[in-house]
Amino acid sequence: MRELFATAVREPEPPLPPRFVEEVVAAGRRSVRRRRAAAAAAAAVVVLALPFTAAVTPALRGGHRVAPAAPAPGPAVLPDRFAPYSVLTRDVADRPAGPAVMIYRYGSGELVNQWQSLALGADGRTYRRVGADEDRDGVQGWLLSPDGTTVVLTDVSRRIDGFTLVDLRTGRERVVARAAPTGLLPLAFSADGRRLAYAVVDGALDPIISDTVRDVATRSGVLRVLDLTTGESRPVPGATPVLGAAFAPDGRLAVQTGPTTIRVGPVDGPATVTLTVRDGQRLVDGVAWSPDGRFLAVAGLVTSFLGNGEYEVRPEVTFVDPTGGAGPVPAPVEAEQLLGWRAPDRVLARTSTTEPGEISEIPLDGGRPTVLARFPGGSRCEYRSQPCIVYDLRLASGLVPALTVRPAGDVDRGPWPAWFLLVLAGSAVGVGLLGFALVSARRRRPA
């Protein structure tokens, strides 16, 4: 066989072309560069695709099933700085995250309407949108249950069939206080979260001229209490009209029934005490009572004349003796909104020493307030063209006493939304195709 091969006829061997070695070396260098470019493109695709894979894998595994979220162990946490606006925050209906320590509306609408209704989880790092609130037309009102598990939603601009309750642990919704379409305004939870005080109005609603449910309730509203465990709703005797309401720790109810009148008494009986406040002061809905029942908080604006025709208007929270007597009460504190009670001698309030404000702990002995958590400043809304505004802020009152504050860390907004994953995947494919096209173009180039 070797002889056969050794004697095989073959064509004469041509010489190597001139500069063969140089051309081979040049082609080798190009090959190395192409491979490096391809590797870089592949790495870019991997880097872009990894989050997509990481995000989509659990989504594929779990589909869109909504699993009840376990309550966060230990005391609720407030971050020292709240997360900025993000369109990537998932809806609580898709990705429930358990009880919330706070709900708030956040955004801006100067040029583009970018508003979010957000629930901050009791772990202090989980943010979810309460889409059931965002999707509603009209003017919204809401409350957060003391344990942070339930958000009560309503539309205060029109007659509705009942309140929508959103369970933050499951994302599920249910409608309570079903009745003929009427105006409903949730005002206060009882300390145990079982009862909900709300105003009902039958008058005409016209939000264009500010006749929202709240406005009409101040003229003709009737206060009712709904037992959330039984669904039974009863009117509170004599509680009309309704300017505000708050449950006492012992279950009594304080209801502001006039510009200067607050009635205090049992839920199912006549008032036992009638308090008089200054015109313009309003009972702080929901959280007016101190934990020991010794004080009742009312809020209003105070005007100070500075001389030379100048004056200053400050928001102020004032405390009154709910017994109607002249018992000692703390001095008023300057605060935009009373949010809850840390202890009988300390409150949490929204203050505004900086824009767009912060949550501060204010001692009632005259001590200096301590800022606990700030909202991010700067232009972060409407594609970073406008500052974000915070409003309709509510804390889970039952979580406030044990609340701890920690430095803000990683934020959990839930898995990226499907539209974002599609954009990301499209970008990754685009980068991959571009890299492939570049590499292919270089490869096709003649040596």
């Binding site: 091969f5 095989a8 006829v9 073959r10 061997e13 081979v24 070396v25 080798g28 090959s31």
Partner: protein, 166 residues
């Protein structure tokens, strides 16, 4: 690649390009194709020169690259559709030499690329079974069996001459 490595590569190519092209010619049967084949193999060798240089025998490394490039080209979409020669036949090749000796190159063109590579490496390059297995990236047993199949194929294509040669 460092300048020192590239100098070594250039020196290797200058010294071995012709021999490698000859092997490529034996594999593909055409000097033009052999030129392309060896150029592609040497470009690939450039990428892996560090590894080849560190190997005991750069020649074996280069030969393996050459055979791989040859086999990959033959397996490619183009090669599968643009068949340069007729399909292998059991009948003897018609293009015998003027002295009655059959054209081995024509016969080799009619057997499979893998079997051709085995024959070329063993009987033209003079490699033993182990070296051929290393060049092809297969086991010694595979080389033996493929050699037997290839010889059987040649015997069908060149019944008189292969019979005599053995």
């Amino acid at each position: 690649m460092r300048a020192e490595d590239e100098d070594a590569y250039v020196e290797y190519v200058r010294g071995r390009a012709l021999a490698l092209r000859r092997t490529a010619y034996h594999l593909c049967g055409d000097w033009h194709d052999a030129h392309d084949l060896v150029q592609a193999a040497l470009v690939r060798l450039y990428r892996y020169w560090g590894r080849a240089r560190a190997a005991d025998a750069p020649d074996a490394y280069a030969r393996r690259i050459l055979v791989n490039v040859y086999l990959q080209q033959r397996r490619s979409w183009w090669a599968r559709r643009v068949v340069p020669v007729a399909e292998p036949r059991d009948a003897p090749a018609a293009d015998a030499g003027s002295d009655g000796r059959l054209d081995l190159m024509a016969a080799l063109a009619r057997i499979s690329p893998g079997q051709r590579a085995v024959l070329v490496l063993r009987y033209w390059e003079g490699l033993d079974v182990a070296e051929t297995a290393a060049a092809l990236g297969c086991s010694a047993g595979t080389v033996k069996s493929q050699t037997a199949y290839a010889i059987a194929a040649l015997r069908r294509l060149m019944p008189d001459y292969v019979g005599r040669a053995e």
